[in-house]
Symmetry: C2
Subunit: 405 residues, 2 copies
């Protein structure tokens, strides 16, 4: 019997009516003769409610207690989803993360999955039951509740799909799939039928909000093929899988824009071995993630470093860098929050040349200036003015002939 893992996000199980609709969908898939493991998130909004209560009793709650508290969000939706299925005649049982044997490391609020003991789930599947599992949560070796951090429910679904050797894994969300660009910005954007893990990863890290990178990385590592699709209609979604030869026919798969970065320029630092290392070590120690980096040597003996950081971190970056520059013997810091990062992604770049040139040319023709440039094997990113970002996305989308044909 084919075995399917489905995951429904917080909007899909946002209230009792939606939970009943999800139950109907599950029943339909089961009636077609499939075994089902279903991962659900907490209903949308409940995490914020719980965090507000936590804040009201303690300004800095411990990770352990936060996890204990936040885990109740999914515990509610698994029980209600199982009940809704029982109510329409489908045998179903709910599992918390701990009951599902999802063992994690000890890092509270952003734990990593270590192993899954799927024996209890296998037993209920063999008994003909639909198994409903709480996403986002697990248990550590000391029996404490842990949560997996942002995108944790997707990760639960993909890890379970690997553990129970599912034939399919379906990630239900509020969008139809992965698009060639954000359809709200680029009207002619098309939904992709398939995309490779690497392309999906580059899109995720480039501001496409469909899924967190860690879930895609996990899927790639364990070879879990999954489909991103909408829980509000029955349209086919986008299948994310290992790259196959024909994918390379397409040079650019999609265009992504990230408006959440800010640019930092560190100028006139002494150009000696270890200067750049000192700067980036300082940022790393402050848990600030640096994205694009360019270094150039200016007038004799001094260097300039330009890089991007998440906008909320830019003030902290300046604060920690000032003393570091003093130690290095001088340098100035300036920053620009009004930037955006435009990326074009495609595995075809590996075997096609001229992609960067084509992108730069298209932007130049539209009069859009390029700041930083960074490239990977399958991605080209450029920093542009924030207020030209949407226009740049449309220009790039058209230049690489991604518009609906």
């Amino acid at each position: 019997m084919p075995r399917i893992v489905q995951k429904y996000g917080g909007t899909s199980v946002g209230d009792v009516e939606r939970i009943k609709k999800v139950a109907e969908r599950i029943k339909a898939v089961r009636d077609e003769g499939n075994e089902l493991v279903v991962v659900v998130s907490a209903r949308a909004g409940v995490t914020n409610e719980l965090l507000a209560r936590a804040q009201a009793v303690c300004t800095l709650p411990s990770g352990r207690e936060l996890d204990q508290l936040l885990a109740i969000g999914e515990q509610e939706t698994i029980a209600l989803t199982a009940m809704a299925l029982n109510g329409i005649g489908v045998p179903a049982v709910s599992y918390t993360g701990a009951q599902a044997g999802i063992f994690t490391d000890r890092v509270h609020t952003k734990a990593k999955i270590k192993t899954i003991n799927s024996k209890p789930i296998e037993k209920d599947l063999a008994a003909g039951k639909v198994v409903i599992v709480a996403g986002f949560q697990g248990i550590n070796e000391e029996g404490q509740t842990t949560t997996l951090g942002r995108g944790g429910s997707d990760l639960s679904a993909i890890a379970l799909a690997a553990a129970v050797k599912a034939d399919r894994c379906e990630i239900y969300t509020d969008v139809d799939g992965v698009y060639t660009a954000d359809p709200r910005v680029v009207k002619s954007a098309r939904k992709l039928d398939e995309i490779s893990y690497d392309e999906m990863l580059e899109l995720a890290s480039s501001g496409s909000k469909v899924m967190q990178s860690r879930s895609v990385e996990f899927a790639k590592k364990y070879g879990v093929v999954f489909e991103v699709r909408s829980s509000f209609n029955h349209n086919p979604g986008t299948i994310v899988k290992e790259e196959v030869a024909y994918m390379e026919q397409v040079v650019v798969r999609g265009v992504a824009v990230d408006k959440d970065q800010a640019k930092v320029l560190v100028s006139n630092i002494v150009d000696k071995p270890g200067s750049a290392a000192k700067v980036f070590r300082t940022l790393a120690d402050a848990n600030i993630i640096v994205d694009m980096i360019v270094q150039n040597v200016g007038r004799q003996g001094v260097a300039n470093l330009t890089f991007t950081v998440p906008k909320p971190d830019v003030a902290a970056a300046v604060r920690v860098l000032e003393p570091a520059l003093k130690e290095l013997g001088g340098g100035e810091i300036s920053m620009d929050p009004k930037i955006a990062k435009l990326s074009v992604v495609g595995v075809g770049m590996k075997t096609h040349s001229g992609t960067a040139a084509n992108l730069f040319q298209a932007l130049a023709q539209a009069g859009i200036n390029i700041g930083l440039i960074s490239t990977s094997e399958i991605k080209i990113s450029v920093v542009i003015d924030l207020d030209r970002a949407d226009e740049a996305a449309r220009v790039a989308h058209a230049a690489f002939k991604l518009d609906a044909s």
Copy 2:
């Protein structure tokens, strides 16, 4: 170091402000040099909210899923209570029923505690932490969440007090302790400093709502001395313990009124061996709990049975008895919901005579008619008219000189 188990009910942890007040109380007791295990209930009202959501997705939810759902109520309050303690500088950790090693049988929604593995709790106590445990819930041997039914959090506290060999067990509630009568009815009622398990049990089964019998039975079985007191003030409460000799000096400890019973009269049934058994077996099979029973033989060859059942069950009692009477060869059923049960309780009755006569005489002088009578070693109960019940309580209270001196 003295070890104390405290239990706070749903009103005491009803919102974040009250949780912070509870945390202050706990801190004060800890600062006096005590080890603390604290059992908390779900906040008042949350169980009804969750049940309403369950009803909205399924008219008859399974016990397993109900337990999974209801358990989140306490999981919220344990995390918030631990956080509130951390917020005022007290090291504290929360435990779900499962994490606290509270193993139960497999009967969902009214599980019985089988064993408690208190090793993890002992470890945290040894590390100087206050341990906060979710009341009302446990785990069965298959790893499923169970709940303990009505009064379950009191039971959790008393069972934990036995398991960790606590020096004291304090049950915090919204009343000051156990009174000689309901103070809302009998203005001169006094709070008792001490009461024996047996007296407490008889009061509980006689309509005094302070605690469920099962918790008191458990405390008696394991010799757990506990105190019932208010979380809204610092008054000493009532200590419940094994009977000691001086308790017998007092003939009547308290007066209780139960207005939740109805009287059923089964008349003119054939008086043959097995008739009464058939009637009560029928009621037992329908899960109807019968309280007071009187049988008398009427005119030749027929018998009358009178008994009380909980008011909500009276219609069901009539329904199941009608076919049973046909099988027995005849009989009529009538019922009277407008009754109350008045009980006087005291271990002193064992060694004093005339208590029943004194009660009957006092009621007779007040013109209150007595229906059924039943007695145990330490209790006398009578059925009276519902609309004389409060008056009867005051009369009995005065007759046995329970009024505040």
